[in-house]
């Protein structure tokens, strides 16, 4: 596949940030293909991406209804494999991540011949809303304990892996528990993993993982591990 990197960006109601994110990702000096999965957005996200895709080469896929982040990532991965790829990158559309960090994650994956590299945030009380901080700490400890893997942050959506790894880590979760399922599967199949600290900005406290989705993630982790 000539080291082609598929960058998958799932998005749901991200009309304010998606074009900027695409612009930043597009600027990266990589042999890449950008795959955007609009997960049934109700705002102008889809039309904005479509407009953007008329002058930039990106693959745009659309879920007619909102299925959840896990399902959107799966659609992106399956499209990437159908089109042919060597490496797959996940990055969020809400500008929480810095696309420049993709280069560091890919470099670590290639240099150390790893199966998967996780971009981990600096989970700091001062930077994060308190509830998110406590929820993250709890889910990190639980997921690491159950998967026998050591990571500083398990809820980050930023990761890079090889296309062969996808067959092993392929998940069932449709929602946010996809991040935990990937880690549990990484442990289950003894995959070679690494982590790279990434920069993060917290913009919207009402979007993303809430207390209720945290509880759902907790139940899903137990389901994936024991059922």
């Amino acid at each position: 596949m000539n080291n082609l990197i598929s960058i998958i960006i799932p998005c749901y109601n991200e009309e304010n940030t998606i074009v900027e994110t695409l612009g930043q990702v597009n600027k990266l000096n990589l042999n890449k293909r950008i795959i955007v999965v609009d997960d049934g957005s109700e705002d102008n996200t889809y039309s904005k991406i479509r407009q953007y895709s008329t002058f930039e080469d990106i693959v745009l896929l659309r879920h007619r209804i909102n299925l959840g982040k896990g399902a959107a990532l799966k659609t992106g991965c399956e499209a990437a494999l159908r089109l042919g790829t060597d490496t797959i990158v996940f990055i969020d559309a809400d500008q929480q991540h810095f696309p420049d960090d993709i280069l560091r994650l890919v470099e670590k994956l290639k240099k150390e011949k790893l199966d998967i590299v996780f971009g981990t945030r600096n989970v700091d009380k001062k930077q994060m809303p308190l509830l998110s901080y406590l929820g993250n700490k709890f889910l990190t400890k639980l997921t690491c304990f159950l998967s026998n893997i050591t990571l500083n942050d398990v809820q980050s959506g930023f990761k890079v892996f090889t296309s062969q790894t996808y067959q092993k880590i392929a998940w069932q979760s449709c929602g946010y528990s996809v991040e935990n399922e990937i880690i549990i599967n990484t442990g289950k199949y003894n995959l070679k993993y690494g982590q790279v600290p990434i920069k993060t900005i917290y913009k919207d406290t009402y979007k993303g993982t809430t207390v209720f989705s945290g509880l759902k993630i907790f139940l899903n982790i137990l389901k994936q591990k024991f059922l």
């Binding site: 999965v37 896929l61 879920h63 209804i65 299925l67 659609t75 089109l83």
Partner: protein, 110 residues
């Protein structure tokens, strides 16, 4: 003499008879489903009106009061329905995900 709990049961039973009839009239139930549910509610009303009919049976099963028997049966039915709903919902979610993904791939160029 009719007890308070029987009055509640009778109100519930007749309400369910009416609701099942409404579902049939709105074509949400087939004739078979309508007859099944009506028979079930009529059986419930019959037991509420004449509890002594099954009291011998419940005593043989070790229940001292008929009410205990009804509560246990109700719990079993609710547990079964919850399990059934859970499996059906999972099936619907899987099918929905598959269809939505197929639709998303329609314009994907190989």
């Amino acid at each position: 003499m009719i007890l308070g709990v029987q009055i509640l049961g009778i109100i519930f039973g007749f309400s369910m008879v009416y609701l099942s009839f409404l579902c049939y009239k709105r074509k949400e139930f087939s004739r078979f489903q309508f007859l099944f549910w009506e028979l079930l509610w009529i059986l419930l009303l019959f037991i509420i009106f004449f509890p002594e009919v099954i009291s011998n049976f419940t005593k043989k099963l070790g229940f001292i009061r008929l009410m205990d028997f009804l509560v246990i049966v109700a719990f079993m039915i609710i547990t079964f329905l919850t399990f059934n709903n859970y499996t059906d919902l999972n099936k619907i979610k899987r099918n929905q995900e598959k269809k939505v993904r197929e639709d998303a791939f329609k314009n994907l160029n190989h």
